[in-house]
Amino acid sequence: MGLPLMMERSSNNNNNNVVELSRVAVSDTHGEDSPYFAGWKAYDENPYDESHNPSGVIQMGLAENQVSFDLLETYLEKKNPEGSMWGSKGAPGFRENALFQDYHGLKTFRQAMASFMEQIRGGKARFDPDRIVLTAGATAANELLTFILADPNDALLVPTPYYPGFDRDLRWRTGVKIVPIHCDSSNHFQITPEALESAYQTARDANIRVRGVLITNPSNPLGATVQKKVLEDLLDFCVRKNIHLVSDEIYSGSVFHASEFTSVAEIVENIDDVSVKERVHIVYSLSKDLGLPGFRVGTIYSYNDNVVRTARRMSSFTLVSSQTQHMLASMLSDEEFTEKYIRINRERLRRRYETIVEGLKKAGIECLKGNAGLFCWMNLGFLLEKKTKDGELQLWDVILKELKLNISPGSSCHCSEVGWFRVCFANMSENTLEIALKRIHEFMDRRRRF
């Protein structure tokens, strides 16, 4: 009896001798089979193009900012791209550029990022460049923080609805769980202390250790800022439970009116107590505000020395190219340019938002009152035949197949109320937006006739 068992164990030879992969490799936590990504596939197969494919799928599921490219182009052309490529030293700077792979990141670039982040917050908070850790995008920043703050099977509390990518970014390789903090439209989806307690208790009941709360401010997919009082309550809660608070502020520069945004940095600015401050961490990136997702620039800003040290070392897996750092350092420290860019970008986004919300209103569709971001949160609950998740997905499918619009269903954002959809408006020209609105109008007209 013992011998066959031993042979099996030692030779590992099975009939087909297929080599095994890890759980991470075979897991579907990447979520790419969900509707959020299925719509993207439909777009890839039949993408709208103003001239070549006017009846194609319009991509309204991608939160990309293309409204202010001209400002960047003008700046880069005017300031002599050659110079900005190498830094101020010209071609000899190539040597440092080519060899530089220090995970501390270029000091001038970190100073530029700190300065940019301060400007976005109207100087209401200061950022120390030595607390900035660079990562290749905010996606990497969020994952890195999760590795550092939580062990496998621990949990982060995340308010719903949330960015579908979190399911993958926070959980896939880290083994960490997400426990939702349920929010609903009765108070514009703001986080309440009761919802926080309830989520925490749910985790405890399941014997899961909660390590932190992760919020997005301004919120994706809501397109709205988090109120100052809610932030204070959140920090309070985190202190009481002795857990971390992560604030993903990648849309902070896309708030339509600067005064309406309160960063967690402002709350912490006036606190001396290290044991309170050191649980707060901010994620930022240039992908949304500056419209440069292709550059892969993200940061973790932490008030915790240990987290900064640890994140820096772990950032070896996700370094920002020296080329990118050099190129952007001078642009981001040019305060005249950044002030102008931030102001004009906010204005253009606001106008786009108003266009889409007005257009939807004319078609009889309401949106959540938003004040930030590259998208609006649209309520189609009244159109659902069945007020269930399936009903919502059916409607989503109709919108994709009939209207050829790819929008994101609330269920993929774990929204507890059915019928909400995220609609992106900043990744297209104004004409394309008009076409999209036209399709929606026609659809609503057709429905009214029946």
Binding site: S10, N13, N14, V19, E20, L21, S22, V24, A25, V26, H30, E32, L62, E64, Q66, F69, L72, L76, P81, M85, A91, F94, R95, E96, A98, L99, Q101, A136, T139, A140, F147, I148, L149, D151, R168, D169, R173, G175, P193, R211, D236, V239, R240, N242, D272, D273, E278, P293, G294, F295, V307, T310, S316, F317, T318, S321, S322, Q323, T324, M327
Partner: protein
């Protein structure tokens, strides 16, 4: 509370706890619990009324607990005790410069080449702008580099890499761009492969001596163990099947699950080129044991000896073996001297691994503007052929000078044919033929001779006295300086 830690391991089902210590641990645990219950709980945060805690927020000396990081994060921030990192840090405090700091510490611990910078610089100054910003009408169009692109790398870049790799690996192997994923450097490439091929707690066999960075790359986050397979100078540090077999059996006895073999070829730190026969042996062994093979070929283009470099991809493609277990790592940090750009490759014959790696690239992708530069660079065949020829020639020349200089001092080197370093036998300078003696020599080299060379201990070498010396960032004039310093140190030992 620290004594509760072993019990925690049992609760989490990791086992490995001897029964003999379980009972006292249980007793101690319950004692602690009893004592804790008797203590008033001022630090139990859930009992603090909200308004009280808000006042606490703004006042000093309150009883809020210090928030903790995860247990996997704890070892990461600790100062490294590896001589590899200690040496690198020390050089930063007093770096040698042949003009401004002739007494500084000479860096021989970083495998980087600056020998062909002049060629690269010229190419960059002539081609950079065009390659980065070009759109169809030749006008500067930022959207082409600003927008999201597939994280696994532009197809044109994968095609260019496939062609480049084929060229530098002897031309007998071809690479399929659809089996390739572009990563932000070799470091994430190795980590992503570890995540895909092994679960937390599994292990890779790795021949020693090995590149010290693998410890971090693999152990930081994946939870995969590295099991050394010791190689000896009598085999010129080439791995043997019997050593692999022995290591695997020992691992299994300990209850470790081995998922694969990881090795570098050309090897780091020795600089060996593995023969076709050895590669076949490794793959055959892996097939027999049903495990993966990861071949880190990041120095493939830095071959200067007479021995021909053969990629594991060539062996895998020969049809004799199941190729789905073969995975290659490559990158431009060594052969093309641009580590700052962050460009690496995972090449796998396993479709599911490629698919998983593609999705994981969102965490480690290369910016589009850098991809465009690289497409242009790698497709410039005339430049690349000239560059690679010069690169190999200059390494060869430098190697000859360096090894000759050491020979004059009576210090031999292992036979090597690739890489940016040589594996030096300094055992004659050891006060005691032991790890302790080697670390003492390392310290003296660093503080007295002011040379940073990586000791074999940092690379898990089983024989004391070996040091890796990287010579490809040296000017010819630096070599006599180095040799003189070593000579003086050796003199001081004799007196």
């Amino acid at each position: 509370m620290r004594l509760i830690v072993p019990l925690r391991g049992v609760i989490q089902g990791r086992g490995g706890l001897f029964v003999g210590s379980l009972i006292p641990c249980c007793l101690f645990y319950f004692l602690q619990l009893y004592l804790k219950r008797r203590r008033p709980p001022p630090s139990d945060p859930t009992e603090l009324p909200r308004t009280f805690s808000r006042t606490n927020l703004f006042s000093r000396g309150n009883s809020i607990g210090r928030v903790r990081v995860s247990s996997r994060a704890v070892p990461v921030a600790k100062p490294s005790d590896s001589p590899y990192y200690i040496g690198l840090e020390r050089v930063k405090t007093d770096p040698y410069d042949r003009m401004t700091n002739t007494d500084g510490i000479i860096q021989l611990g970083l495998a980087e080449s600056t020998l062909c910078f002049d060629l690269l610089q010229r190419w960059m100054s002539e081609n950079l702008m065009e390659s980065m910003m070009q759109s169809d009408d030749g006008e500067f169009d930022i959207s082409s580099i600003a927008m999201y692109k597939p994280f696994e790398g532009l197809l044109e870049l994968r095609v260019a890499f496939a062609d480049f790799m084929s060229r530098i690996m002897g031309g007998n192997v071809s690479f399929d761009p659809s089996n390739m994923v572009i990563t932000a450097g070799g470091t994430p490439a190795i980590e992503v492969l570890a995540f895909c091929l092994a679960d937390h707690g599994n292990a890779f066999l790795i021949p020693t001596p090995y590149y010290p960075g693998f410890d971090r790359d693999i152990k930081f986050r994946t939870g995969v163990e590295l099991i050394p397979v010791h190689c000896r100078s009598s085999d010129n540090f080439t791995v043997t099947v019997s050593a692999l077999e022995q290591a695997l059996n020992q691992a299994r006895k300990r209850g470790s699950k081995v998922s694969g073999i990881l090795f570098s070829n050309p090897s780091n730190p020795v600089g060996n080129i593995l023969s076709r026969e050895t590669l076949c042996d490794i793959l055959r062994f892996a097939q027999e044991k049903n495990i993966h093979v990861i071949s880190d070929e990041i120095f493939a283009g830095s071959v200067y000896g007479d021995k021909e470099f053969v990629s594991m991809a060539e062996i895998a493609g020969s049809g004799e073996f199941d190729k789905t277990r073969v995975h290659i790592i490559y990158g431009l940090s060594k052969d093309l001297s641009i580590p700052g750009f962050r460009a690496g490759v995972i090449y796998s014959f396993h479709e599911d691994v490629v698919n998983a790696a593609k999705k994981l690239m969102r965490f480690s992708s290369v910016p589009v503007l850098v991809q465009r530069i690289l497409i242009s660079l790698l497709s410039d065949v005339r430049f690349i052929e000239g560059y690679m020829a010069a690169h190999r020639q200059r390494i060869r020349d430098k190697h000859i000078r360096f090894v000759e200089g050491l020979k004059q001092l009576g210090i031999p080197c292992a036979e090597s044919g690739g890489g940016l370093y040589c594996w030096v036998d300094m055992s004659s300078l050891l006060t005691s033929y032991s790890e302790k003696g080697e670390l003492e020599l390392f310290e003296k080299l660093l503080t007295v001779a002011k040379i940073n060379a990586t000791p074999g201990t940092a690379c898990y070498c089983i024989e004391p006295g070996w040091f890796r010396c990287c010579f490809t960032a040296l000017a010819d004039e630096d070599i006599p300086v180095i040799m003189e310093r070593i000579r003086q140190l050796a003199e001081s030992f004799r007196s």
